[in-house]
């Protein structure tokens, strides 16, 4: 072993240590931001989190008490309805991309879904405003669901495509070799094999849309009271958070932080659920 080689080797180890330290530092900084946001939200909003927050609707400014039940329920309804609207289209596009790779529509579909994925969310709201709010003559939970649905379609398409391309081609070939038509193989063999991954993608799209305020500003609009009729304006947590945050009232500020916490918990829970679903293979 020559001396220079020994030295070169030692230097390489030093470079490796340095790089590892830099990577660790970067990771730590990224987490620090998340931690600070969460800690500050907890500090500011935890005081407003009580049973009433979940069970009562909001009160007019100046009146103590009340909760954000109407926003919590509204979030689930508008987001859930949006998912129902988006699901068939998102899944269908993903299936086309993954299962019919030589289909002439695919290059356009891929470009479109990439563009839509990067599009500012407020534009989906604008689209829903033109397509739903204007013809129906007013703001509504349904139009908000359309806006969130538009937002979810490209996410669903891309996640479905990714998950389906992980299914071994042997599953498809074995099905076709039995004399099954292609659509039957996809429906009865490929999709069930990818079930866990599909559920994960659906939950992540749902969580992503749940946190959006912008597309709902001129669609769902918001409502101070619990509203279960999707043809009427409905409230959601991000909308209420925005409205409260720009208000001049101390009590509402605290509730805005609490809304943020609930939203954070909701999205974390959905992500955990998604991870749990994807861990159970088949």
């Amino acid at each position: 072993m020559s001396r220079e080689r020994d030295l070169a080797l030692r230097r390489r180890y030093w470079v490796e240590r340095l790089m590892l330290a830099l990577v660790a530092l970067g990771t730590l900084l990224a987490f620090l931001v998340l931690f600070l946001v969460l800690a500050y939200a907890l500090f500011q909003g935890a005081g407003a989190l009580n049973l009433d927050f979940f069970l009562k609707d909001m009160r007019p400014p100046g009146e103590a008490g009340g909760g954000l039940r109407q926003a919590i329920v509204g979030t689930l309804l508008v987001d859930g309805l949006g998912l129902l609207l988006a699901l068939p289209f998102g899944l269908a596009a993903g299936i086309l991309l993954a299962e019919y790779p030589d289909h002439p529509l695919n290059p356009y579909l891929r470009l479109l879904s990439d563009t839509l994925n990067g599009m500012p969310a407020i534009l989906f709201g604008l689209l829903a405003f033109i397509l739903v709010v204007k013809p129906m003559g007013g703001f509504s939970g349904l139009s908000g669901a359309f806006a969130l649905g538009f937002l979810m379609i490209p996410i669903l398409a891309r996640s479905t495509e990714g998950v389906l391309s992980l299914v071994p081609k042997e599953v498809r070939e074995a099905g076709l070799a039995l004399g099954l038509p292609r659509w039957r193989v996809i429906l009865s063999l490929v999709l069930p094999t990818a079930r866990a991954g599909l559920i994960t993608g659906i939950l992540l799209a749902f969580a992503r849309a749940a946190g959006e305020a912008a597309p709902l500003l001129f669609t769902a609009f918001g409502s101070p009271l619990l509203e279960l009729n999707p043809l009427k304006p409905m409230d959601t947590l991000p909308l209420r958070l925005f409205a409260f945050a720009i208000s001049p009232y101390e009590d509402w500020h605290q509730k805005a932080w609490a809304a943020g916490l609930v939203l954070f918990g909701f999205i974390t829970l959905t992500s955990l659920l998604a991870r749990w679903a994807s861990r159970r293979r088949f």
């Binding site: 030589d102 074995a174 076709l176 070799a177 039995l178 004399g179 099954l180 009865s188 088949f282």
Partner: protein
């Protein structure tokens, strides 16, 4: 017992398979090969010689590969399966396939795996399904091992059992021809033995084409053997003749182990 006359069940005529611009199988004039009814034909040759590519052309599996092009004819009882208007789904119902890797459908039970080819085309008759599943599993020599746990997931079976399950699954739709792509390549000697025994029973009803890397296996189970090399079929004949008196020096070199 009267020896039944030889009868061509399937036949390739000047068959060429190309992948994109790369060279394929049979480029120098095409592969012409008869497959006799209720006989076992083995396709042998070194890796990359085109035997699997040829096999997959026999039930139109290449339809799924956008870059693959097939020229020439494959006759099934005299009808060209590549003629315009022929539905590949119907071809595959008559010409089944077993793959190298045991591929039980992971989400289905043992019963549903075997019944898949019937259930998924809409056959719901309980009694008919039960009978078909039992018959197929018995034919694949798996019935005794699984009859008490037909509802259990198929992913719990061993590799050898899964391979016999895929054979049972292929048999359940009652194909006339069974294409087998190195069916024992990933199995231990005991499972291999079980499948070879099975082939000898199956050929009473089904025409079998088997791709194998294992020359002993070809010699043990097949009636006819075709030797492939560099994308061309070099020699075809009764297995015994091909292994004892090969006509082509390349065949001789391969079977005596001088290459491949």
């Amino acid at each position: 017992m009267v020896k039944e006359a030889l009868d061509v069940h399937m036949e390739s005529r000047r068959l060429v398979v190309r992948y994109g611009t790369r060279l394929g199988v049979g480029v120098g004039g095409g592969v012409s090969l008869p497959l006799y009814r209720r006989r076992i034909t083995a396709l042998i040759g070194p890796s990359g010689c085109g035997k699997t590519t040829f096999l997959r052309a026999l039930n139109r599996m290449h339809d799924l590969t956008p870059s693959a092009r097939v020229e020439g004819e494959v006759l099934l009882d005299g009808e060209n399966i590549y003629a315009p208007g022929v539905d590949p789904v119907l071809v595959r119902r008559r010409v089944g396939m077993v793959f190298q890797k045991p591929t039980a459908f992971p989400t289905l039970s043992i019963y549903d795996n075997v019944a898949a080819g019937l259930k998924l085309v809409g056959i719901r008759d309980r009694k008919r399904l039960d009978e078909a599943v039992e018959r197929a599993l018995k034919a694949a020599a798996l019935w005794e091992e699984v009859k008490d746990r037909l509802r259990a997931p198929a992913s719990g079976l061993s590799g050898g059992q899964q391979q016999r399950l895929t054979i049972a699954r292929a048999l359940a739709v009652e194909p006339e021809v069974l294409l087998m792509d190195e069916p024992t390549a990933s199995l231990d000697p005991i499972s291999t033995q079980a499948i070879e025994d099975l082939l000898l029973t199956l050929k009473e009803q089904v025409t079998i084409v088997i791709v194998t890397h294992n020359m002993q296996q070809a010699a043990r189970v097949s009636d006819y053997t075709a030797f492939f090399l560099n994308g061309e079929m070099v020699e075809f004949g009764p297995t015994e003749t091909l292994f004892t008196k090969p006509q082509d020096p390349r065949t001789e070199a391969y079977i005596t182990g001088r290459f491949g």
